[in-house]
Structure formats: structure tokens, C-alpha cells
């Protein structure tokens, strides 16, 4: 599925969505795009959160933004002027959004035209959705071939994920055209196996049973996520950290590999580690 051959299908559009805010969509979009690029796939990650640009910060390219998504949609700049090439990986590109307050600037036809153009150059187009179920979020999922539903093991996040799954099934372009449905993947983030074992947090199985969406991965609650965002590095580039490794596993599964679920059982911590702080 690299899109190299002439007859290969066009790029895959993957929407990172959740309904609820603050569950880790942008972290996931950055990590997933970085993971796909590390695997040799030419990948672009687009920020759909018009007015609240943040992907540039998480990717560490905030000072290189000149033109943005809305400029390209309006024809004020061309695609290659707006795309930012990642300095760590040649396969990775960032497409920042605009800071305009006009949320309706994201016109569906304009988005479609830009996506079609991106499909000529890339294997994967990762769409980082805004929170909510309004115009921006629906535009981000409308053109998706696959979706990653980012969910925390917590009641409000699970409920909002259920809602967004319903919207994917009824309001995506694939649904409107009666095409095969958007491929759904559940990604459980901020998972704390210790709290799960004490009965204080929903288990992976609980969430999967409630949402009945195939599980792509479990990302453990990890200090490395904040560390990565502090420095503007996608956490998947940190393959020392549990969260980074969990994201790389999820990317491998997304590409069709079998990987055992890690980080779902409480870690046994040695007395020394407890005494001298966590690694």
C-alpha cells in the first residue's frame, strides 16, 4: 500500500477524531504521521482545527509557518508553498491551519480539491480533527477512508466517541455515496494499567465492548508525552518511551502487522525505582 505503482490506489485519507477535546488527537496525529514516515511512507499531516492552530507546535515547526490551509483553499498560495518539510524525516510533511476566526473558511469543495492534489504526492494524508461535532470536525471526517477514534478510558470520552462513530457511519462521503464504510480503529490513550487493576478505570475490554470498534492500540499514560510536546517532537520519534513504542506498534498494526498489545498490565516497579523516581 505504498502507492508507488502506477495502478496502485491513491493515497489513504486517515482522520484522527474523538468528539471530546483534550484526549490526545493532535498528539496521536503527530505520532501517527511520524510513525508512518519512519516506515517509509510519504505522509502529510493536516491541521483541521481552524482558529486554534496547534499541530505546528507539537511538530516543532511553528516558526516555519508562512502559508496555511486556508490560503491554499482560497488560492492565495500553492500547495508546495504551504507544506512544511520535517527536518527529522524526509517522508514527513506538515500542513498547518490558519488562525482565522472564520470557522466556515473550511469549504468542503476547497478541501476536496486540496486533498485530491495531496493524493498525487502522498501515500497517507492524516487529518487532525478539531474537537466537537460541528462544521470543522465533520469536514475533517467527511473525506476519510479510515478513522482513528482516540478515546480515554473515561465516561465522557467514551460517550463522545460513540457519537462520532455514529457521525462517521452516517455523514461521511463514503456513507453518502453508499461506498464501503470508513474503516474504524479504536485507539485508547492515557491508559493507566495500575488504576485499571484497582478497579478505578475502565479496562481496554470494557471500552471495546461498549464501542465495538476494532482495537488499534493502547497508549499508556506517560510522562514522555508532555516531554515530547515541550520540545516539539512527535512522541513516536522517542522509541525509548512506552508511549512512543506503543504508537509505533499501533502504526505497525495499521499497516497490517500482528503485534502483541503491550503496556496493558501494571508494570512491576523495583524498590530502587520507587525510591529514586520513575524512569
Amino acid at each position: 500500500m505504498t502507492g508507488e505503482g502506477e495502478d496502485e490506489p491513491l493515497a489513504k485519507v486517515v482522520c484522527i477524531t474523538s468528539g471530546k477535546g483534550g484526549v490526545g488527537k493532535t498528539t496521536t496525529a503527530a505520532a501517527f504521521a511520524a510513525g508512518l514516515a519512519l516506515r517509509g511512507h510519504k505522509t502529510v499531516v493536516i491541521d483541521f482545527d481552524v482558529g486554534l492552530r496547534n499541530l505546528d507546535l507539537i511538530m516543532g515547526c511553528e516558526r516555519r509557518v508562512v502559508f496555511d490551509f486556508i490560503n491554499v483553499i482560497n488560492g492565495d498560495a500553492n500547495l508546495n508553498q504551504a507544506l512544511i518539510k520535517d527536518k527529522r524525516n524526509d517522508n514527513l510533511f506538515i500542513f498547518p491551519t490558519s488562525q482565522t476566526r472564520d470557522k466556515d473558511a473550511l469549504k468542503r469543495q476547497g478541501v476536496e480539491r486540496v486533498l485530491e492534489e495531496l493524493k498525487q504526492q502522498f501515500d497517507y494524508i492524516i487529518c487532525d480533527s478539531p474537537a466537537g461535532i460541528e462544521h470543522g470536525a465533520v469536514t475533517a471526517l467527511y473525506f476519510a477512508d479510515a478513522a482513528i477514534i482516540v478515546t480515554n478510558p473515561e465516561v465522557s470520552s467514551v460517550r463522545d466517541s460513540d457519537r462520532i462513530i455514529g457521525i462517521l457511519a452516517s455523514r461521511s462521503r463514503r456513507a453518502e455515496r453508499n461506498e464501503p464504510p470508513v474503516e474504524l480503529n479504536l485507539l485508547l490513550t492515557r491508559y493507566d494499567p495500575g488504576r485499571v487493576s484497582r478497579g478505578e478505570m475502565l479496562t481496554v475490554e470494557d471500552v471495546q465492548e461498549i464501542l465495538s470498534v476494532p482495537l488499534l492500540g493502547v497508549i499508556p499514560e506517560s510522562e514522555s508525552v508532555l516531554r515530547a510536546s515541550n520540545t516539539g517532537t512527535p512522541v513516536a520519534f522517542d522509541n525509548e518511551s512506552p508511549a512512543g513504542r506503543a504508537y509505533l506498534d499501533a502504526v505497525a498494526r495499521f499497516l497490517g502487522e500482528q503485534r502483541e498489545m503491550r503496556f496493558v498490565k501494571p508494570e512491576r516497579r523495583s524498590l530502587l525505582r520507587v525510591l529514586f523516581g520513575r524512569a
Binding site: E154, V155, V158, R159, D162, R163, G166, V196, R198, G199, E200, M201, L202, T203, D206, I210
Partner: protein
């Protein structure tokens, strides 16, 4: 005291409570989010049809989609206030495969 709290604290299995609450609320929300797109139109057309035979106002017809076990049930409630004694046969209250017997509409 510490041990006692740890063992008998009401928070000890809050995850199970969360799961139960989610199951109930989502079952309800899925039912109400999944079907209702056509309901307003159906309701309007029903009013048009019924109004040809009896005098009826908008509020006197209620259309709902609900769940009864595994079966979806389309429930149509038509209230007749000053039903003209025409050849009109009162509609059945519910259309659903699992309903034991349909009840006649409430007389006004």
C-alpha cells in the same frame, strides 16, 4: 483504618459503575440518534392523510422509534378529539413485530 478504607471504600470499583452507566446511556442515545431523520416528514404526511378524514391538529399525532428488546418499534400515536363519525377506522397504536397485540387508539 487505612486498610479498612482501601477494602470497603465505595470508590473501589468505580470502573464497573462507569461501565454500567455508559451502557445504559448509550443504548438510549443510539436509539434516538439512529433513525429519526425521516420522522418529522412521516409525521407531517400522516397528519395530511388523517386530516382528510377527521379534524385533527399537529399535536395530536406523535411518532416515535423505540426499542423493545432486539426489535425496533415504530410507534404512532393518534389522538382523536372530535372524531367525526365517518367511515374512518382508528389506526392501531403500534406497528412492531414483537408487540403482543395492537391496542386501539385512545378515544378523545
Amino acid at each position: 483504618m487505612g486498610i479498612f478504607n482501601f477494602l470497603f471504600s465505595p470508590n473501589r470499583n468505580s470502573a464497573a459503575v462507569a461501565k454500567e452507566r455508559l451502557k445504559i446511556v448509550l443504548a438510549h442515545e443510539r436509539a434516538s440518534n439512529s433513525a429519526p431523520d425521516f420522522l418529522p416528514k412521516l409525521q407531517k404526511e400522516l397528519i395530511d392523510v388523517v386530516a382528510r378524514y377527521v379534524s385533527i391538529s399537529d399535536q395530536m399525532i406523535r411518532v416515535n422509534v423505540g426499542k423493545s428488546g432486539e426489535t425496533s418499534v415504530l410507534e404512532i400515536n393518534i389522538e382523536l378529539e372530535d372524531a367525526k363519525p365517518a367511515t374512518f377506522i382508528p389506526p392501531r397504536r403500534a406497528i412492531g413485530t414483537k408487540r403482543p397485540a395492537a391496542q386501539p387508539a385512545k378515544p378523545g
